[in-house]
């Protein structure tokens, strides 16, 4: 029972196997985790850099921007400006965890516990991931995407494909469905569907149809504004979806490319909403597993200290006036909150009973945590579970910076009885992607006129778009739409703050 998993820092593949088995035992029996089958891959630093440049995915279509990221990461890594992550984990089934070869045995244990069990459980059980991602299909879909992009390049030329992808990438952050649709995304079926559709088009293609005179077209007035908006599905905030379905002059393959980019953006959508929870879960899980292994005597005291040292680094939260401060560290906040929940469940103070009557003193730590992990995202998690004690401990305060205010930045609330709820609400809002991303939607198309596409940006709290970037993105949008595009920034009172109008660039190659 007390046989050590490893001694010292060295490991080999048998050690990894033993470590994984030991972690699994704790994860299953003590924590009751439910994970996808694990696949653990050992990689080199160069391969890690490769993974960095393609957003961590093991395979991806080719695009110059990934090369740019690779060049950048490589340069800063070589100069020692940047360390590499110990691991990368992919939300897929089987769940793939990449471990760096230079990690010590202790680090490998930490990383396996963190990624292969912590993240893995979260991916499998959190409602957002269940709703938005298809873990079984993602790798196949990426493979399909890669080959599809490649075949497009062969057929239509690299420049054309690149142009479309550039534009799609610029709009990627606005290519997401924010509200659950009718059915679950099934990427495998999606891939088959794409193939079938192309085949069908080829089979039924008959050039004669082109020559058949069309019936009497509907009079323009018949298309009332209401009906037009309905036909086009407006207002629509998923710009890529809108273009894919309604852009008048895109070739079928371009629509398919937009679709690919849109699906990939959607795949990453839950991750951006659950940074704190995801890392918090993984950190909490690795902490529990490592402690347990140490208690069982399977990790020596020395190795445990090594673990504690890196663990402490990971969950370090600099204070706001520290040079190292760059916002809340999701690992630190997430881990602190998970531990806090553990405390509330097992050993609540009166205050906690008042604030968290549902879970205080319930004594089933893992039951509560598993429920939390399954049913919340960052915003709701913080809004629900950030306790007064933790706010006091981290000494949180809320600043309100109104440029109009001459006196300076106002301290709106601090960690006291009057401020707890306001601080918590504000912190939750900071983690709400719906609030962070600019709220831009297609509101109309001037079908009777010059086919101009009209978008609105609903400005919140006076925060407008960065002008240079907005113009560049709109240029891409106009290139895809092939007619003028205008973006109007309106505030809550519908007052127009600013209007951009961009015309498409002339198309050099075939349309």
């Amino acid at each position: 029972m007390t046989e050590r998993l490893f001694e010292g820092a060295d490991w080999d593949f048998h050690t990894l196997q033993r470590i994984t088995d030991a972690c699994e035992e704790v994860a299953k029996n003590d924590l009751g985790l439910d994970v996808y089958p694990n696949q653990i891959e050992v990689i080199t630093a160069e391969q890690m850099l490769d993974a960095y440049s393609s957003v961590g995915m093991p395979l991806f279509y080719k695009h110059w921007s990934f090369g740019k990221h690779f060049a950048f990461h490589e340069a800063s890594y070589r100069k020692g400006l940047m360390g590499l992550a110990y691991e990368i984990v992919i939300n897929s089934s089987p769940c793939i965890s990449y471990l760096m070869e230079e990690n010590t045995a202790t680090m490998q244990t930490l990383v396996i516990a963190h990624a292969a069990f912590g993240h893995n459980h979260f991916f499998k059980n959190n409602y957002l991931f269940k709703q938005w991602t298809d873990a079984d299909g993602i790798l196949d879909y990426l493979d399909f995407a890669k080959n599809y992009v490649m075949s497009c390049e062969e057929r239509y030329g690299r420049v054309e494909v690149e142009r479309t992808l550039d534009a799609a990438h610029a709009l990627m952050s606005h290519g997401i469905d924010r509200y659950p649709g009718k059915k679950k995304l099934d990427l495998r079926a999606e891939e088959k569907r794409a193939g079938r559709r192309r085949q069908h088009e080829e089979e039924v293609f008959n050039d004669l149809w082109r020559t058949v005179p069309a019936g009497k077209s509907k009079t323009r007035s018949a298309l009332s504004v209401e009906r037009r908006r309905k036909l086009l599905g407006l207002p629509q905030e998923n710009l890529l979806y809108f273009l894919e379905k309604s852009a008048p002059r895109l070739a079928p393959w371009q629509r398919e490319l937009l679709r690919v980019v849109r699906h990939i953006a959607q795949y990453f959508y839950p991750q951006s909403q659950t940074k704190v929870m995801n890392e918090g879960t993984a950190t909490y899980v690795h902490y529990r597993i490592m402690t347990k292994l140490h208690q069982q005597g399977r990790i020596s005291d020395g190795n445990f200290l090594e673990f504690l040292q890196s663990h402490t680094n990971v969950v370090f939260q600099p204070e706001f006036d520290d040079q190292r401060f760059s916002g809340f560290n999701p690992y630190a906040l997430g881990f602190a909150m998970m531990q806090d929940i553990e405390r509330i469940v097992t050993n609540p103070a009166d205050e906690d009973r008042e604030w968290f009557p549902d879970i205080a003193g319930k004594n089933d730590v893992m039951g509560v945590l598993r429920d939390v992990w399954a049913n919340y995202r960052d915003e709701s998690f913080i809004a629900q579970f950030l306790s007064p004690k933790l706010m006091r401990q981290l000494r949180m305060f809320h600043l309100h910076d109104d440029p109009e205010e001459r006196a300076g930045i106002r301290v709106d609330a601090i960690h006291d009885e009057r401020g707890f709820r306001r601080v918590r609400r504000e912190l939750a809002r900071q983690h709400d992607v719906g609030y962070i991303d600019a709220n831009i939607e297609v509101v109309d198309v001037d079908l009777s006129g010059d086919r101009r596409l009209i978008l609105h940006h609903h400005v919140i709290k006076g925060s407008q778009l960065n002008e240079t970037d907005a113009k560049r993105v709109l240029q891409h949008l106009a290139d895809l739409w092939t007619y003028d595009v205008s973006l109007i920034e309106v505030d809550a009172q519908d007052k127009v703050l600013r209007e951009y109008v961009v015309s498409p660039r002339p198309i050099t190659a075939a349309a």
Binding site: T44, Q47, P94, A438, V459, S463, A470
Partner: protein
Amino acid sequence: MAIHIIDRRLNPGGKSLENRQRFLRRAKSLVQGAVKKTSQERDIKDVLEGGEVTIPLDGMQEPRFRREGGTRDMVLPGNKKFVEGDYLQRSGQGSAKDSGPGEGDSEDAFRFVLSRDEFVDLFLDDLELPDLAKRKIAHTESEGIQRAGYTTSGSPSNISVSRTVRRALARRIALKRPSKEEIEELESAIAACTDEDERVVLLAQLEKLQAKSRRIPFIDPLDIRYRRFETVPKPVAQAVMFCLMDVSGSMSEHMKDLAKRFYMLLYVFLKRRYKHVDIVFIRHTDRAEEVDEQTFFYGPASGGTLVSSALQAMHEIVRERFNPSDWNIYAAQASDGDNSYSDGELAGMLLTDKILPVCQFFAYLEVGESGGSAFDLSDSSLWTLYERLRNGGAPLSMRKVSERSEIFPVFHDLFQRRETQEKAAP
């Protein structure tokens, strides 16, 4: 649950190579500019070593909609003394401004590292060897291996399985070797047979078939064929580069350094086109000698100046060792332009009659003191001579250089890819 542990370290690297090349292709003109700029600041030895370059992000941005300004609310950790309602003075700017890695902020410069090959490729990309009438490729000792049919003997690793099996099949059919199915069929017939007499007949038949099948092997040593390879000489283009330099007293260290830089570049450039490049160093005062590199650049020498001696030496070396039909001959001459007047005729004659006809390319580099503006005022005797020859139609390239930083532009200028032949005036 089975856990798969996979060692990916052995996977071929360079997965991002394709993306990287795309990036470089896209940023080509920018990177090229950066490469040239970087190389000017470098030492001759590592001029083409690769390394970090910085390019502006023109056309390489990945724009996104970003919001900025407006009223900001933030929750921060680590309150020490504030209470609700306090006001903080705005300092110059918010400290929590972190720009993303190499993206986002619009006009940022982008730094990254180029490998040696990438660097050389970009550096020499728009250069081309002058396309002169003569372009010969010599056959040298280099050998390549080529498939050459099949043979009956060879090493086991070269067995051609498909050919062997095909021959075995043909032989088995020709000799009517009973197939496995045939024997099996007969065996089952025997097993099913009830009549004793018939059974005996069948057994005899089986015996015969089996004997035959033993006699005629499935694969006979006769069938075996090996893939045959033969070595073929491969044509390898080879070049020789003549470095001619005036080392008389009037040549300063600075001038020699300029010349050296030029030779280095020429060497790298030739090396890229030819697998094998020989260098011959000829230094001259009033007489010429072939020397090694050290002596060439650093050896002391003194005396007058007779350019014809160097040209004569080069001519002799070509005749002895480098047959013009086998070698691509390049020559670069560096001098401060001094030459004794009496030598002009001879040098001109040697050049037009002996040297230029066998050379692919002859460059004359006139080096001057740094900051020497007087140098532009009157042409030197050698320059005048060469200019006359060139105006007479001789394929000569000539440039003047007096600063280190001019070497690269001049080199580029000389070898720039042109529609028409190199004939430009300095």
